[in-house]
Subunit: 341 residues, 2 copies
């Protein structure tokens, strides 16, 4: 009876390998077909070779192979509005339909007005009120259902596609390449953990337990029928940006990554922490320098500044001085999205 | 090139299957050889059959197969003192060698005195001071090194063995049986998350990211050489007992378990939450009713009460009324430890 049980275990592995490799079936010989040859692609391939070839001095045992990825601007489009924030703004309308009194109360009045210039003037305190109103006071099941419904209907204003179709094809290939090389891939994002969990399995082939995000508290209790429920409460347990990223990695994974990918100062400490580990480590930053195919913002290398874009020149200089690899979207990516030909 | 990459993925699966099944190689036909035939063993085998047989109406896809286990008193011995607490008490001596002034300050004076009766009188406030002094203010790396060193030398007073050799062989078999059946096994313990992570891979074949425990905060910073470090700070992010268990499961896993195992009122909400899910769910409680081979404490079914033992009669009644299975250590387990013949 022992053989069949081990076979079943292996089948689980096959199922996942298929899930992770099906979309990239065209990658017969090149694991990164959407990447142009260059230092960025070479760094990834070389990192995988050195850490997975058993004869390499930098070989890393499978159980230690951890790779972490920021999401907004690293795995998918974060312009003109980070999707999680767009969700919260859209939810205000739904809330106002239930509670019409909100229409005359700030900051909800401004959000409902839809004036983009006014929206950019919202303070952190306004934003916090919006997050508390739209993300808490409901059960985890309700929240998941609401996010799913939103994601099925909301569309990005430029490409007119659901947000989770606007993932970067080259980064999808990196995720898949690392996974088939024995790496466990994690998202480490400033976005809400349970928000990302709703679509990450389908979008990135990353299960809920491998999502590290902003963590809000929940409170266990019982509904009117006496059934156990978890209610989302306005208590931030982890602010998963900057120093919060290595702290969140310790909390959720308990081990230092061997590879980390980001695109802004919010990822700086995660990359420092990753790169400081012994042996071969890979730290990469996506630079949005492609105004034609996606966006160009920075302000590193003289790119335009924007509120959300925080790839500063200081971060760029730190990358160059620390052996981190900067990915030029314009030069390193053969295509940006899977729907491009 | 695609084949070799998938083969490498499968090899990772084989490596883990070997790790998880090697110790149970004698289990040729019976996945639970240390269990006597009876309702508890039958419930486990039947649960696995129903949730993993593709033709079963209760079939659960592999990616949803989550099983959670309390540790103290469920996977290993928690008497006379829970090992994590023993660690903290032992650490007080090490601290006092560095800071002799502690020897005259309470509660450290009492701990150093070693009077067991006095120790049982420590208040929650005393205990908190001990936990803060012994668990925080050091880096995560230092803490891990200290726990490893302690575990290599500390011995249980009755069996004169390292604490992590005092795991229950029948429960090790359940962990392994569930894993080879495609379940992802988690520890969900009131003990410290990073404490358990130090030995869980070696002791239970459970990796650090599958440990849910009491979560203390960390603070990212730099050491005197400018290297990134994580320092343990006195901030409790999750008290992983009672309502904290389902809350911790949401935080770390993001999905409801299909099977949960515990032994006290601290596990009640986890079992309620597990059992309330749709489809086939398994909830089990270990009853310590074997004073000869281990301990007998309760006070369910008239067993002696003790400070740590909280299997109340009310919990026993709830189990019987809710379809939870009570495991009688005395009747259901053929042997308790692997070193018994």
């Amino acid at each position: 009876m022992r053989r069949p049980r081990i076979d079943r275990y292996l089948l689980a592995g096959v199922a996942c390998a298929v899930c992770c490799s099906a979309a990239g079936a065209q990658a017969q010989t090149d694991p990164l077909p959407s990447w142009n040859d260059g230092p960025a692609k070479a760094a990834i391939v070389e990192f995988v070779r050195r850490t997975t070839d058993a004869s390499s001095p930098q070989f890393v045992p499978t159980e230690k192979r951890i790779a972490t990825f920021d999401q907004d601007g690293t795995l998918w489009v974060e312009k003109p509005t980070v999707p999680q924030l767009k969700y919260c703004l859209d939810r205000v309308s739904a809330l106002a339909r239930k509670k019409p009194e909100l229409t005359s109360v700030e900051p909800f009045k401004t959000v409902l007005g839809g004036d983009r210039a006014a929206l950019t003037k919202l303070t952190m305190s306004d934003l916090k009120k919006i997050l508390v109103a739209t993300l808490t006071g409901i059960t985890t099941d309700q929240y998941q259902a609401e996010v799913k419904q939103w994601l099925a209907t909301a569309k990005d204003p430029r490409w007119k596609k659901p947000y989770n179709e606007l993932t970067y094809q080259p980064m999808q290939e990196v995720l898949r390449y690392l996974r088939v090389s024995g790496y466990k891939t994690y998202i480490v994002s400033g976005g809400g953990q349970d928000f990302i969990r709703t679509y990450a399995a389908q979008t990135y082939c990353i299960p809920p337990e491998q999502i590290v995000g902003a963590i809000g508290g929940t409170a266990f209790g019982y509904d009117k029928d006496g059934q156990p429920i978890l209610t989302r409460v306005p208590k931030l347990l982890l602010n998963d940006v900057e120093t919060g990223k290595p702290e969140g990695i310790q909390l959720m994974i308990g081990r230092r990554p061997y590879a980390a990918f980001g695109n802004s100062t919010g990822d700086r400490q995660m990359l420092e922490y990753t790169k400081a580990g012994a042996g071969e480590r890979l730290a990469m930053l996506v630079l949005h320098d492609d105004a034609t195919r996606e966006y160009a913002y920075g302000p590193a290398q003289g790119l335009p500044d924007t509120r959300e874009g925080t790839f500063t020149q200081a971060l760029y200089d730190q990358a160059k001085n620390s052996g981190w690899i900067v990915i030029s979207m314009k030069n390193d990516w053969k295509r940006v999205f899977s729907f491009e030909q």
